[in-house]
Symmetry: C2
Subunit: 207 residues, 2 copies
């Protein structure tokens, strides 16, 4: 769970660095990311000692440390499978490179899509996936195919050396325990929020 918050802290620290801020208190960092100062101190102390009591954190140093903890000091190479609307948007997303990821390969099973150029990359056929991933050193995959293809695509990515993947398909995919999956189905995210919407409404009985 801490590992889910660290990228949020890193993102806030990068915005601060871009605004030429040099030092930040746990209270202010907490306010920026929506957690308490205590939580910030607790999360960071989990990985060692940072800053001095009362002196705040050095923005650059803390950002670098968090990037190190997350393994972002090394660029991760990424493949996108499925070049529908969402896959295209992700393939062309400008926010990856500055933050540790580079899209290096695109795959689709549709012959009409294979060969198209998206964000300076040519879409390749599924048959070449294993060979290209090995050659390009891809360790992270993005699955942006329909639900019924998601497991087969996941299996192929895992067999080709991918060890972490983001799954935008609306289905849970099974992987070996050594492979991490981030479930990023937008509807799942919305449905979790809907629960809280309901809590604020008059109940049907009462209305």
């Amino acid at each position: 769970v801490v590992v889910r918050r660290l990228p949020i802290y890193a993102r806030a620290l990068e915005h601060l660095a871009a605004a030429s801020e040099r030092v930040i208190s746990s209270g202010r960092l907490g306010a920026l990311v929506g957690v308490s100062a205590d939580q910030i101190r607790k999360d960071l102390s989990y990985f060692g000692e940072f800053g001095r009591k009362g002196a705040g954190y050095r923005v650059d140093a803390l950002a670098a440390t968090i990037r190190g903890i997350l393994g972002l000091d090394q660029e991760r190479r990424l493949a996108v499978v499925g070049l529908g609307r969402l896959g295209r948007a992700l393939a062309a997303y400008p926010g990856f490179v500055d933050r540790g990821f580079r899209v290096v390969a695109l795959f689709d099973r549709d012959p009409a899509v294979v060969g198209q150029e998206i964000a300076s990359l040519r879409v390749l056929p599924m048959e070449s996936l294993g060979e290209v991933l090995a050659r390009e050193g891809v360790t992270v995959g993005i699955v942006a195919v329909p639900a019924e293809q998601a497991q087969a695509v996941t299996d192929l990515l895992v067999a080709s050396g991918v060890r972490a993947l983001l799954n935008y398909a609306p289905i849970t995919v099974a992987t070996p325990p050594s492979v991490r999956v981030g479930d990023v189905d937008p509807v799942v995210a919305l449905q979790s929020l809907a629960y809280y919407l309901k809590a604020g409404e008059p109940s049907e009985q009462a209305s």
Copy 2:
């Protein structure tokens, strides 16, 4: 945290229902969604009694109950702000309607984008946002604008009655406590995964 897993259970139950399955054990449901049978039973018991010991859950009934818990028995109306690549993909995403959400309004601040038709909706100017959201009964927003515009867009959505939003912009937005935000920055999701990638690699010292 349970509330984050319920949509995953609902999604799996819908796939089972589509495959004409009528009854499922907590063990098999757990295997489908990647959690233990105990966790399934514990999560569901939090909301009452379901199924009978040893008899499994009725797929349809459990799906309906979870939809009720999440407030999905009522369709939520959605606005997308920012019709860049990602916003367009979300505006046209076919997976919302069956699962409780309907995109009813699109907004962009770029005069060249306003007036375009995307997924049968015309993109509207930001100035009309308040009026349109009130008229259309929009309670959920998707923020798909660049980081530097995300807070202003969020403030406008909140002022116009939105009580839950998905934020795709790479920045934490501040909202009143009554408004829920899902942070769905793809890079944050990737960075959390990267931590686990690193754990499987030989350390620099050792290599």
